[in-house]
């Protein structure tokens, strides 16, 4: 009985965190360190998310981003492209990026880490 109560409590507790995520930034295959100060970091809400390329503005490439959003338990809702996009924006903002271009998503499905995983990739850029 005690075990059931503890398990139920743990499940409810974990269900509160619907998703968890991880991200990495690389350039030319090497990890990119966050070298900008907090003032230089951008507001994630202001980072543009573009599925193709930006053709009307010049930019400098900061890093290639890769994020994975996982649902915490089998009972949580699947991660959406919007959630993965938000994570891309957060990672880009840490690098001081203005936009994430070439954004692309995988398909939600079971992975070794979760019953529902969604991967997204994009390129963090800063306008010149």
């Amino acid at each position: 009985m005690k075990k059931i109560i503890i398990s139920t409590f743990a499940l409810l507790l974990l269900s509160g965190c619907a998703t968890w995520s991880a991200g990495q930034a690389t350039k030319d295959g090497k990890p990119v360190e966050i070298s900008v100060s907090e003032e230089e970091q951008t507001n994630p809400a202001k980072v543009l998310l573009v599925e193709g390329d930006i053709v009307d503005r010049k930019y400098t490439v900061l890093a290639d981003l890769e994020v994975v959003v996982n649902k915490t338990t089998i009972f949580n809702a699947d991660p959406t492209p919007e959630l993965a996009g938000q994570k891309l924006k957060e990672e880009a903002a840490l690098l001081g990026a203005d936009a994430v271009i070439q954004v692309r998503y995988g398909s939600t499905g079971i992975s070794l880490m979760s019953w529902g995983s969604l991967e997204a990739k994009g390129r963090a850029v800063k306008f010149q």
Partner: protein
């Protein structure tokens, strides 16, 4: 003693089966396609070669590129819908397979739709590159 040993073997078999199932099912999530080469850091010819753009592609007009882009977007959405519609079924099977493991074989892996999406993404990148090189708007 024999009974306990039997239980242990059964538990180990269940665990191995569960593990093998999860490993087999790990293909269910499709990774995001790789990013194309960085246009800013390479010359046009290098990028075109890396993207597999043919001479025939290079001869396309802006309106032809636009038309194909629309078609690719439509096909992309259709394949995404195929995967999304099977996701509900896979989840239900996932719930019940916790009690009845053999049910995991009933999951739909959508290999064809996933392969289509990957191919369409490559074409999207090619068309985006052509769009930029030709300064289409």
């Amino acid at each position: 003693m024999k009974k306990n040993l039997g239980k242990l073997i059964l538990n180990t078999t269940n665990f191995l089966f569960l593990f093998a199932s999860i490993v087999a099912l790990s293909g269910c999530a499709r990774n995001a396609p790789d990013l194309p080469p960085t246009f800013a850091d390479n010359n046009q010819q290098e990028v075109a070669n890396a993207l597999g753009i043919t001479e025939k592609d290079k001869a396309m007009s802006c309106s032809q590129i636009q038309l194909e882009k629309s078609q690719v977007d439509t096909d992309y959405a259709q394949n995404e819908n195929t995967i999304r519609s099977n996701r509900g079924r896979n989840q239900t099977v996932g719930y019940f397979s916790a009690f009845l493991l053999p049910l995991v074989v009933a999951t739909e892996n959508d290999d064809e739709a996933k392969a289509n999406l990957n191919a369409l993404q490559i074409r999207k990148d090619q068309l985006d590159h052509l769009w930029k090189v030709k300064s289409c708007s």
